[in-house]
């Protein structure tokens, strides 16, 4: 980072010493994991830049936007409708939950048996090291899993701008009615926060912004079916992670530039790993920034990741919202249609997910599936057993791993992943 952002961080109430330490660790981690890769698409330099300015330039942009009346909404889940936020000229930022921090303080508030993702969110807040949390005008929680649901009760005691969205547990007509009511209530809250009335035109614009990002990612994904893989799983994951907080237009443009490069590479048969490198589909819990542990192990053990069946990945970006209808109620239905299809494990039943995993396995020409579950994540742990059994029955090699964010089990994970790669080679 070139500019001096310390006054800005200080004004947000960050603990400067702790924050410096976080940036140092993040920088080293990024360098070790990403910059050590070979033959990356040149367009990835945009993401290198974004990551080098992750707490600097982007935060400054958001704060400058706030001075011009653009509100900042922080969220933790892909069920929060981006279209509605963008319709009110506000920014949606997916908050990072991908590293352990301030663990002693977190353990005072949350039970030890809480998933690492939830604990990380609290760690960044309690450690006062996240400028996004501190700058947000509204934080949106959602009643998805039990851990999240109960942890927002605790978060509500730490901040004064928490809005909790309720979500259904089933994909029934009643569930859909609940989600519709909650999306309308959310729209009302955003209107009140921003002072902007969301009409059909604004909502259509919001849909367009969200769809453009999704289309850009879809295009990038389309090239990952090729062998040799033109982009690493790590780099594709990074693009999926930055999706959540970058400026939408700039993000879409940069991803499209990378896709142009990938198109060239595929035509020339050029890749980041040799042709015939074992190909893996990751499936399961999302990997939030800066969680790169397992993809790094996989891609330094002789395999390439060709797809992510997770919220930071295809589950989160899969479908577009239909912007062709006219009234605001119709457009809200279109948005609802789109989000109601997300096959997160908090829903019961969740049979489409199995179909999606198998479909992605074929589409990306994968050789095996690694199911990634966070320890204590009951929804995905439960689903992992059927996912593995059903995939193996169809002759699709599957490895189930569960882990957290610590570095303690790297050796053990590497042995399992290497053995799995040996199996699919």
């Amino acid at each position: 980072m070139e500019a001096n952002y310390e006054p800005m961080w200080e004004s947000l109430g960050l603990d400067l010493a702790a924050h410096d330490e976080l940036l140092r660790i993040l920088g080293k981690g990024y360098s070790d994991v990403f910059l050590s890769q070979e033959n990356r698409p040149k367009g990835m330099s945009y993401f290198d830049f974004v990551m080098s300015e992750v707490h600097g330039l982007r935060v400054k942009e958001l704060i400058d936007g706030q001075k011009e009346g653009r509100k900042v909404i922080g969220s933790f889940c892909v069920f929060v409708p981006e279209e509605i936020v963008r319709a009110a000229d506000a920014t949606l930022v997916g908050l990072c939950t991908g590293a352990d921090f301030a663990t002693d303080e977190v353990d005072e508030l949350l039970p030890r048996n809480t998933c690492a993702l939830i604990k990380s969110a609290f760690g960044f807040k309690l450690g006062k090291v996240c400028p996004y949390i501190e700058t947000a005008d509204m934080l949106v929680g959602e009643n998805t899993c039990d851990g999240k649901k109960k942890s927002y009760e605790v978060l509500g005691g730490l901040v004064d701008n928490l809005y909790v969205m309720d979500l259904p547990q089933t994909k029934s007509p009643e569930g859909r009615a609940l989600m519709r009511a909650e999306y309308v209530r959310f729209r009302d809250a955003i209107e009140e926060l921003t002072g902007i009335t969301i009409d059909a035109e604004r909502l259509r614009k919001g849909i367009g912004i969200a769809n453009d990002k999704r289309r850009a990612i879809h295009r990038l994904n389309s090239f990952r079916s090729a062998d040799p893989a033109p982009i690493s799983g790590l780099d594709a994951l990074l693009a999926n992670q930055v999706y959540f907080y970058d400026d939408p237009a700039r993000f879409s443009e940069s991803v499209n530039k990378i896709s142009d490069e990938l198109e060239q590479r595929v035509q020339k048969g050029e890749g980041v790993f040799p042709e015939g490198t074992p190909r893996i589909l990751m499936s399961g819990c999302p990997m939030a920034v800066p969680n790169w542990k397992v993809p790094w192990i996989v891609e330094t053990s002789g395999a390439v990741i060709v797809g992510e069946e997770s919220c930071v990945g295809e589950r989160g970006t899969r479908n577009l919202a239909d912007d062709s209808r006219n009234t605001i109620d119709e457009l809200m239905e279109s948005i609802l249609d789109r989000y109601f299809q997300i096959d997160c494990a908090v829903f019961t039943p969740n049979l489409e997910r199995q179909r999606h995993i198998e479909e992605m396995y074929k589409r990306y020409n994968a050789d095996g599936v690694i199911h990634y579950g966070l320890q204590f994540c009951q929804p995905y742990q439960f689903e992992s057993m059927n996912v593995e059994a059903n995939l193996e029955k169809k002759g699709i090699p599957t490895l189930r791993i569960d882990t957290d964010y610590s570095m303690e089990d790297i050796g053990q994970l590497k042995t399992r992943i290497e053995a799995f790669i040996e199996r699919i080679s």
Binding site: E392, Q412, T415, E418, A419
Partner: protein, 258 residues
């Protein structure tokens, strides 16, 4: 042409060298704090054409020797099938970890599970218990075979189980009975892991703990399939690595050397 395999475990390192498909050399040393020096000793006098490393210290070996690494899962699968061609299931109880590996009819790895985060139910557990009985580890199994059933150790953790043993002895329980309970504890844990992987045998029982006659007996009682223990159960991994070396040596010779 000599093809060698080294299995670097947490407690011991095994070497198997194959020449024309037959075991020419089989050696074993303690790992100690300097496994590289130990490997150098092991390989002394052996002019191998190809060396494969396996076990938890395999990466270290590849950094200092002209060797490639394979996981112990693959190595055990290869070694077990060589020793027993019908083998469908492998249980390896080592110094600090336990593995269960299920093989297809063709001998490919189908499913595996490892306990390598905790020493419960491993050789370490038996080592700690034997010490608390003040019996040499090599005699602990036959000592336990003289025990009668009826006692159960409830703690999985080696540290807490040792406390339990102390308290049982203090309550004048027969030491042989307590020793048998200790062995049952190891077998119970291993069989739970096996059942999660497969129940289809025959089962090949490998690793240092397979030398323990009490564990062997109890295991055969608990599983429904045939149990086979090779002569040198600790060397199954090294044998597998050496077999992999043999298999890939002919491929390697057709390409430029690494």
């Amino acid at each position: 042409m000599i093809c060698a395999g080294i299995d670097i475990g947490s407690r011991s390192i095994e070497l198997v060298a194959l020449e024309d498909g037959r075991v020419a050399v089989s050696r074993r040393v303690d790992t100690t704090y300097d496994p590289i020096a130990q490997c150098t000793r092991l390989l002394n006098g052996i002019s191998y054409s190809r060396l494969i490393a396996t076990g938890y210290g395999r990466e270290l070996l590849t950094q200092r020797f002209p060797a490639t690494a394979i996981t112990e899962i693959q190595a055990y699968a290869l070694g077990a099938r060589k020793l027993y061609s019908d083998c469908r299931l492998i249980l390896d109880i080592g110094g600090q970890d336990t593995k269960a590996i299920a093989l297809s009819e063709l001998g490919d790895v189908r499913k595996f599970e490892m306990n390598d985060r905790c020493a419960a139910g491993t050789g370490k557990f038996l080592e700690v218990m034997a010490a608390s009985f003040q019996i040499p580890l090599k005699d602990f199994g036959s000592f336990a075979l003289r025990g009668g059933k009826g006692i159960a150790i409830s703690s999985m953790c080696a540290v807490f189980a040792e406390t339990e043993v102390t308290s049982l002895i203090a309550r004048a329980k027969r030491p042989e009975d307590v020793a048998l309970a200790v062995h049952k504890s190891v077998v119970r844990r291993s069989v739970s892991m096996l059942k999660r992987v497969s129940v289809i045998g025959p089962l090949l029982f490998a690793g240092g703990v397979a030398l323990n006659p009490c564990v062997r007996n109890l295991l055969a009682e608990e599983v429904s399939c045939e149990v086979v223990v090779p002569d040198a159960p600790e060397s199954v991994g090294a044998l597998g690595a050496a077999l992999y070396a043999t298999k890939t040596a002919s491929i390697k010779n057709k390409r430029l050397a690494l």
